[in-house]
Amino acid sequence: MNRRDALSRVALLFGGSIIGAEAFLSGCKTATKYGASMNFTPDDIAYLNEIAETILPATNTPGAKEAKVGEFMTVMVKDCYEEKDQKIFMEGMGKLDEACQKKNSKSFMESSPAERHDFLVALDKEAKDYQKSKKAEDPSHYFTMMKQLTLTGYFTSEPGATKALRYVAVPGRYEGCIPYKKGDKAWATS
C-alpha cells in the first residue's frame, strides 16, 4: 500500500511537455476559459465543484459540491502542487471543457448531469489507460489529478468523513477485532 502511494506520489512529481503540446495543438474555443490563472475565479470553482459532484454525487449522503471540493482543489493545486503539475492541472481545466464540447456539442456546465456523467466515464477510462501506459517520468493525466483531489478532498471533508464514512475524533480505546457486516462504513482516518 505504502509503496503504491509512494509510486503515485513520485509519478505526480515528474512533469513533462506532452500534455502542454497537445493543448497548444488543440487550441481553445470555449466561451469560458477555465484555469486562466492560479487566482481561481468563482467560475473556476463552480466548474470544479460540478466536476467533483459528477465524480462523487449526492446520494443518500452529501456530494462533493456540498463538501466544497472545488475550493479544496484550488487550494491544493496552488499550495501543494509542483509547478509542472500546476500547469497540467490548469491546462486540463480548459481541455476537459473542450473535450466535452466535442462530445456533447455543449460546454460541461451546459451539459445535463447524465451527459456529464457519461462524458466523465469516458474521460476516466482515457485517463486510466494513459496512466497505465505512460512512462514513470511522464506527467499524470489532468483528470487523474482532478479525481485524486476529489476523492481526498471529499473523504477528508466534514460531510465525506462523517456521513459517507465513519469518523471519531477521540476514540478513547483500541479494539483489534470487532464484528463487521457488509455495508458498514469504513473509518475515515487511520
Binding site: 500500500m1 505504502n2 483500541y174 469504513a186
Partner: protein
C-alpha cells in the same frame, strides 16, 4: 567579543552560577534535568529553541482534518523551506512547527545524510516514534565479540536496574515475553493485536525453528494513567503533541517533574557555543551561550555539566570548545569526537494482503504496531556467514479503505465507503557498525547566522549493512508468505543515513581514554565534571530504537555524578 563576557564581575558570576548545567531539553536532557533537580542541585537547562509548553502549545491538534487548510497535507512552501524535514513520516500540516526550517539551520552533506531536527523545548521527544526496547548483552557484547568499534565498558547488568528505574516513569506499554535478546521491562498493559496480526504472529511463532517471535510493539503510549498523564486516547496524532498527555515527552513528564522541585531554571533561545575549560582545575567551569533573541553572548557556571544537545550537536560543541589544553576540542585527545557516527538502516521490507477476516474490523487508531525482535546472530544456530549483527522488524496489519481506481457517479461513491482487504506490512531496522571514517566535522569557512561553524556530515552504509539488507528483505517476504498472506511484495526505499533519526556514536563510551571519549559512567575521560548521555555516547547502535537506553544511561550517570560531587571527587 561583546563586553559582557570580558568585564566579568563577581556579582554577575554569582548570578550565573548553578550546581549543574544541562545542555538540551530533549529526551535525555529532560531526564538529566529531572534527576539532578530531584537530587537537590540547582540546575540550569539551556535550550537553543523556543519554549513549548505542554498542552498549551500543541496548537491545532484537536482540529478535524477539514478544519485544516490542506486537510493535513504538506505544501510546496514546506518542501522549499525544509526539504529534509518535510520528508519525515511525522511531518504534517500540524506537526511541521516542531521541525526546523532547513534554510535557517543549514549543514553540509559530504555524502547524503538526512538530519531531522526539532529545535525547541522538548526537542524530538515531542515527535518521536515512542518505541522502547531494552538492549541485551547480545548488544553490549557485540563490539568485543566481532571486533568492530571498541568494547562497551558496561554490560546489561549495569544498566538493567536503571531501565527498571526509568520505565515506570516513562510509562511503556508492552508484553512480557522472556526473550533473552530483548529483555522484558516494567510494562503497562500491552495494546491489543488485531485479527490479522494475531494470525500472522501465531504462524510466525510456530513456523520457524529459530524461535523468532512476533510481539506487540513496546511503546511509550500510556494504556493506563501514569501520574497525571494519559491515558492514550488512540487518536494516532502523537507527533502533533498530545493534549491528553497520552505519551511520554520531556514537556509532559520530565521537565514538569524538574520544575516541581523548584530547582530548575529553564532558559530557551540559548545556543551553547562552547564549554569553558579551566586548565588549573582541569575541569569545565561553565558554558558560553549566544542568546538568539538578543544576539549577546553570556557565560554560565556550574560544578557539573551534562551535554544532551543530541548526537551531532553535542559533538559539535565539544569540537568547538578549543583551548591550549584541548586544541582538537574538549576531551578529544582520542580524536574520536565526531567519528563513529551511526544510524539504523531501514526502509526495507515486505507487504501482503489477507483473504481472511472480511467479517472483522477494528475500533480506534492504535499509534503502535508489532515488533519482530532480532533473530540473527544471537547464538550459534543463528550465526550468518554474510554479515555480523542483526535487525528487527516493525510493522502492522490493518484494514484500510477500499481502493478502486476506475469509476464515476453514485455507485462508485458508495463502493468507496467500504473497507478493503486486511493488509500487513513489515519494515526492518538494522544495525549500523561504528566506522571511524563515518564522521561529522566543523566547517569553519561556512558559518551559521550566529557565527558558529556549520557541520559537515560524511557518513554512509557499507558492505555489512548492504549484505544484511538483502536478508532483511528476503526474510520479510519469507515470513509474510509463511503466514499465509497473498500478493506478497517487497520494497527497499534506500533512505540515506540519518533518516531513521537514530543518529549516535560521536563521543563514544569505552574503557580506554586513548580510543574513547567517555567512561562507563558517561563521564568524559579527560574532563571529569562533563557528562554526555545523549546518542553521542553510544559505542554501537544495536538494532533497537535507542531512546529508552539513553534515558536509563542518563539516570544512571546523574546518580553517579551527584555521588561523586558529594564525595568531593568532582
Amino acid at each position: 567579543m561583546p563586553g559582557d563576557t570580558l568585564n566579568v564581575n563577581n556579582k554577575a558570576v554569582a548570578q550565573n552560577t548553578y550546581d549543574a548545567i544541562v545542555v538540551g531539553s530533549g529526551i535525555s536532557g529532560g531526564w538529566a534535568a529531572k534527576e539532578l533537580c530531584e537530587q537537590g542541585l540547582k540546575t540550569l537547562v539551556l535550550e537553543r529553541g523556543r519554549m513549548v509548553e505542554h498542552i498549551k502549545d500543541y496548537t491545532d491538534t484537536t482540529k478535524d482534518p477539514w478544519e485544516l487548510t490542506h486537510h493535513g497535507g504538506r505544501t510546496t512552501q514546506n518542501k522549499t523551506d525544509s526539504p529534509i524535514q518535510s520528508k519525515c513520516y511525522a511531518y504534517n500540516e500540524v506537526s511541521s512547527k516542531f521541525f526546523v526550517n532547513d534554510k535557517e539551520h543549514p549543514y553540509n552533506q559530504t555524502k547524503p545524510f538526512d538530519w531531522v531536527r526539532g529545535y525547541h523545548v522538548g526537542g524530538r521527544s515531542i515527535m518521536w516514534g515512542r518505541q522502547c526496547y531494552r538492549w541485551s548483552d547480545v548488544d553490549f557484547g557485540a563490539n568485543a565479540k566481532d571486533g568492530h568499534g571498541v568494547d562497551w565498558p558496561i554490560r546489561y547488568k549495569d544498566i538493567a536496574p536503571w531501565y527498571d528505574y526509568v520505565e515506570p516513569f516513562v510509562g511503556i506499554s508492552g508484553s512480557v515475553e522472556g526473550l533473552p535478546q530483548l529483555p522484558d521491562g516494567k510494562f503497562l498493559p500491552p495494546m491489543e493485536m488485531n485479527c490479522l496480526e494475531k494470525q500472522v504472529a501465531e504462524r510466525i511463532n510456530k513456523g520457524f525453528a529459530d524461535g523468532r517471535r512476533m510481539i506487540i510493539g513496546r511503546t511509550a503510549n500510556h494504556t493506563v494513567k501514569v501520574g497525571d498523564r494519559g491515558p492514550c486516547q488512540f487518536r494516532n496524532k502523537c507527533h502533533e503533541g498530545c493534549p491528553f498527555g497520552g505519551y511520554f515527552s520531556s514537556n509532559a513528564a520530565t521537565l514538569p517533574a524538574a520544575a516541581r522541585t523548584g530547582n530548575m531554571t529553564l532558559r530557551p533561545f540559548s545556543i551553547v557555543q562552547e564549554v569553558i575549560y579551566d586548565k588549573d582545575t582541569k575541569k569545565a567551569k561553565g558554558v558560553r551561550i549566544v542568546d538568539t533573541e538578543t544576539m549577546k553572548t553570556e557565560e554560565f557556571y556550574a560544578k557539573i555539566i551534562f551535554l544532551n544537545a543530541s548526537t551531532i550537536a553535542t559533538a559539535s560543541i565539544l569540537l568547538n570548545s578549543v583551548s591550549d589544553a584541548f586544541p582538537n576540542g574538549l576531551g578529544n585527545s582520542s580524536e574520536q569526537v565526531g567519528h563513529n557516527l551511526m544510524d539504523h538502516h531501514y526502509g526495507v521490507g515486505a507487504y501482503g494482503e489477507s483473504e481472511d477476516f472480511a467479517d472483522q474490523y477494528f475500533y480506534g487508531r492504535r499509534a503502535n504496531g508489532i515488533y519482530i525482535p532480532r533473530f540473527r546472530n544471537i547464538n550459534e544456530q543463528t550465526t550468518q556467514k554474510d554479515y555480523v549483527r542483526g535487525f528487527g522488524y516493525q510493522g502492522g496489519g490493518g484494514r484500510g479503505r477500499i481502493d478502486i481506481q476506475e469509476g464515476i457517479g453514485g455507485d462508485y461513491k458508495e463502493s468507496l465507503t467500504e473497507p478493503g482487504k486486511w493488509t500487513m506490512g513489515i519494515g526492518s531496522w538494522g544495525e549500523h557498525l561504528p566506522y571511524y571514517e563515518n564522521k561529522m566535522t566543523l566547517n569553519k569557512d561556512k558559518k551559521d547566522k550566529w557565527g558558529l561553524p556549520t557541520i559537515d556530515i560524511d557518513c554512509e552504509f557499507k558492505e555489512n549493512e548492504k549484505a544484511m539488507r538483502k536478508d532483511m528483505m528476503e526474510s520479510a517476504k519469507e515470513m509474510l508468505e509463511k503466514a499465509g498472506l497473498k500478493n506478497v511484495g517487497t520494497y527497499d526505499s534506500a533512505p540515506a543515513p540519518g533518516f531513521c533519526i537514530h543518529e549516535m556514536g560521536t563521543a563514544r563510551m569505552g574503557k580506554d581514554p586513548k580510543t574513547s571519549v567517555l567512561n562507563g559512567n558517561n563521564q568524559m575521560h579527560e574532563v571529569n565534571n562533563v557528562f554526555i548521555t545523549d546518542g553521542a555516547c553510544m559505542a554501537s547502535s544495536a538494532c533497537q530504537n535507542p531512546s529508552v537506553t539513553y534515558m536509563a544511561l542518563t539516570a544512571r550517570a546523574c546518580d553517579f555524578a551527584v555521588k561523586e560531587l558529594k564525595k568531593g571527587n568532582i
